[in-house]
Subunit: 306 residues, 2 copies
C-alpha cells in the first residue's frame, strides 16, 4: 500500500479565501454562524477573515465583528490573514489565535499581490512576529511556492531559503501555497520530502487551488510525503484572479471525502459538511465546483430494486 | 521522488463513452474527423464507437459508417465496444483492431447494465474471443471494479478471480473501470500492485470517472503502482447515469497536462488537444468540465507588465 498517514488536519479557509472573491458582501451574521458550525462539526483550524483595508477588500470589512462575534471553541485554532503590521495589531486586539502573514516566493507576484518588494515583506513579517510576541501564534504562507503565473518555475531553493529565514524567526507554522494551481504531484512530493529532511519538526500545511484539476492529486502527493495538514474551502469557493473561469481552492467536502475514503481520520462530519456546502451555494447564489455535494458520497448506494 | 513511469498511454474514449451520453446525435462526419485528428495529434488508442442496438443507443447508430470512414493511421489501435456476439460480428466485419467487451464485477450492476447474469456475460465473452480468433484483439473491461453503486464495496478477490478467468481465455488487454467514480487512491494502488504481482505481463488500463473529483488522484496512484495506460475523454465529456449532475470520464487534456507536467511523455500534442476540446464544446453545445481548456496550462504565463 501507499504509505499514508492515519490522520490529517483540514483547515477551512472559506471565510477568508472564499468570501474575499465573492462579488457580494455576505452578512456578518451568516459568516459568524458558518464559522461556529464548522467548528462544531469538527474543523480544528479556521481562517476567519483578513484584516485588510476595507477599500481593498470590502467583502471582509467586518473583520473585527466576525472575530469578536464567533464562539471560541476549545481546541480550535482561529486564524486571520494580516497583510501588514497594522492588520496584525487589529487582529491581536480582537484576540485572534494565529496571524497568517504572506510573502510570495516570486518577486513579481509579491509586487503585484502585496505592492512591495520581497525584502519589504520580510521586514513586515519580522515586525509582526515581534508584535505577536508569545501571546499570538504566527503562521507564514509562502505564495507561488510551486510556480508563479508571471515568472513560471520557482526554484525549490528559493522556497527553502525563505523557509530558513522564518525558522530563524521562530514562526509557529508554515504554509506552502500553490496560489494559481501550477503544482504537479511529483513536484509537491519532492518539495515536501525536502522540508521533512531539513525541518522535520515543522508544522507544514499545503494550500492548493484546483485550477487545473490537480488539487486532490497534489494532496495525495503531500500525504505520501508525510504532510498531514491541508487548507481547503467549503464548496470549493474562491476564484483565482489569474485564471478566470477556473475553480479556486480545493473543496473541503471533496477533500474530507477522499481522506475518509482512505481511512485517514479528519474528525470532521462529512454529511454535515455537505449540508453546509448546500447552504453556502444558496447564500452566494451561484453553483459551486465541489463534486461530492452534487454526486453524493461513495457510500451513498442506490436501491437494488426500483 | 515518487517513483513514476517515464511514459504513459492515454486512450481516448470520447467517440464512445462521451457521445453515448449526449442527448443529441452528433454528425457522423464530425465523429470521423474528430477521430482522425486525435490520431494525428498522437493518441495511440482510440475507442471509436459501440456496436450496440441503435434503439438502445441511437447516438451511436452510425457505428459501421464511423469505423469504415476513419483513416487508419499506422501505430494506432482502433477499438469498439461490443456488448455481445452480434456486436462483435459487426465490428469484425468493419475491420476493427480491438473489441472491447464488458462485464461487471458486481452481480447487480451487470444485471442492470447488460441485462444478464455475470455467468451469461462470461459465456458471451468466451464466444467473442473465439470469434475474434487471431485477427482481432480482444480487451475486457471489468466494470465496477472499485465499487458498485448498488452493492457498495467490491471485494478485490472478485476482480482478481474474473481477471484469472480472462487470462485463461488469453485476452489481449484488461481494463479496470471505476464506472461510477467510487475508487480512492490507496485502493487503486493496492489493486494495481496486486495485479502487477499476479499477472506482471498484463496490458492493464485504468478507466476512471471524475464523479467525486478523484480521477487524477487515482491516476497518480495507478502510476505509482506502475500502471502506464489510462482511458480518458476529451473535454471530460461523458456523464454517469448513476450520478446526475456529476462529471463523467476524466478529461484527456487535464490528464495529458498532469502527465507532461511530471515529465511523463504521452506523445500527444497538448495545445492541439485543447483546441479540439474547444471545438467539441461548440459541437455538443454545452460547457465541458475539463479545467485546463478553461484555465490554460501551467506553462501559460501572464505578462509581467500590463
Amino acid at each position: 500500500m501507499l504509505s499514508l498517514p492515519r490522520t490529517a488536519r483540514v483547515n477551512e479557509v472559506v471565510a477568508r479565501d472564499g468570501f474575499q472573491n465573492e462579488r457580494q458582501f455576505l452578512p456578518t451574521a451568516y459568516k459568524i454562524s458558518l464559522i461556529n458550525r464548522l467548528a462544531e462539526l469538527g474543523v480544528r483550524k479556521i481562517e476567519t477573515t483578513a484584516f485588510v483595508s476595507p477599500k481593498a477588500v470590502p467583502q471582509l470589512a467586518d473583520a473585527e465583528q466576525v472575530v469578536r462575534g464567533i464562539n471560541r471553541l476549545q481546541g480550535v485554532v482561529y486564524s486571520a490573514l494580516v497583510p501588514n503590521l497594522k492588520g496584525a495589531g487589529r487582529a491581536i486586539a480582537c484576540g485572534i489565535d494565529e496571524l497568517n502573514v504572506v510573502v510570495s516566493a516570486s518577486t513579481t507576484h509579491n509586487q503585484k499581490n502585496l505592492g512591495m518588494r520581497v525584502e519589504q515583506s520580510l521586514e513586515q513579517i519580522r515586525a509582526v512576529v515581534e508584535t505577536a510576541g508569545t501571546r499570538t501564534r504566527v503562521g507564514v504562507s509562502i505564495a507561488t511556492a510551486f510556480g508563479c503565473p508571471y515568472e513560471g518555475e520557482v526554484p525549490r531553493d528559493k522556497v527553502l531559503g525563505l523557509a530558513e529565514h522564518f525558522r530563524a524567526l521562530s514562526v509557529n507554522a508554515l504554509t506552502l501555497a500553490d496560489t494559481t494551481g501550477m503544482a504537479v504531484p511529483d513536484q509537491v512530493y519532492g518539495v515536501c520530502r525536502k522540508f521533512a529532511e531539513v525541518w522535520p519538526e515543522l508544522d507544514l500545511t499545503l494550500h492548493f487551488h484546483n485550477t487545473r484539476g490537480l488539487g486532490l492529486a497534489n494532496v495525495l502527493a503531500g500525504l505520501a510525503a508525510g504532510v498531514t495538514s491541508f487548507d481547503s474551502c467549503l464548496g470549493g469557493l474562491g476564484g483565482c484572479p489569474f485564471a478566470p473561469g477556473a475553480t479556486g481552492n480545493i473543496c473541503t467536502e471533496d477533500l474530507v471525502h477522499m481522506l475518509e475514503g482512505m481511512n485517514i481520520a479528519t474528525g470532521i462530519g462529512l454529511r454535515e459538511l455537505i449540508s453546509l456546502a448546500g447552504e453556502l451555494e444558496q447564500s452566494v447564489g451561484h453553483a459551486l465546483p465541489g463534486q461530492v455535494a452534487r454526486a453524493g458520497t461513495r457510500w451513498d448506494l442506490h436501491p437494488k430494486e426500483e
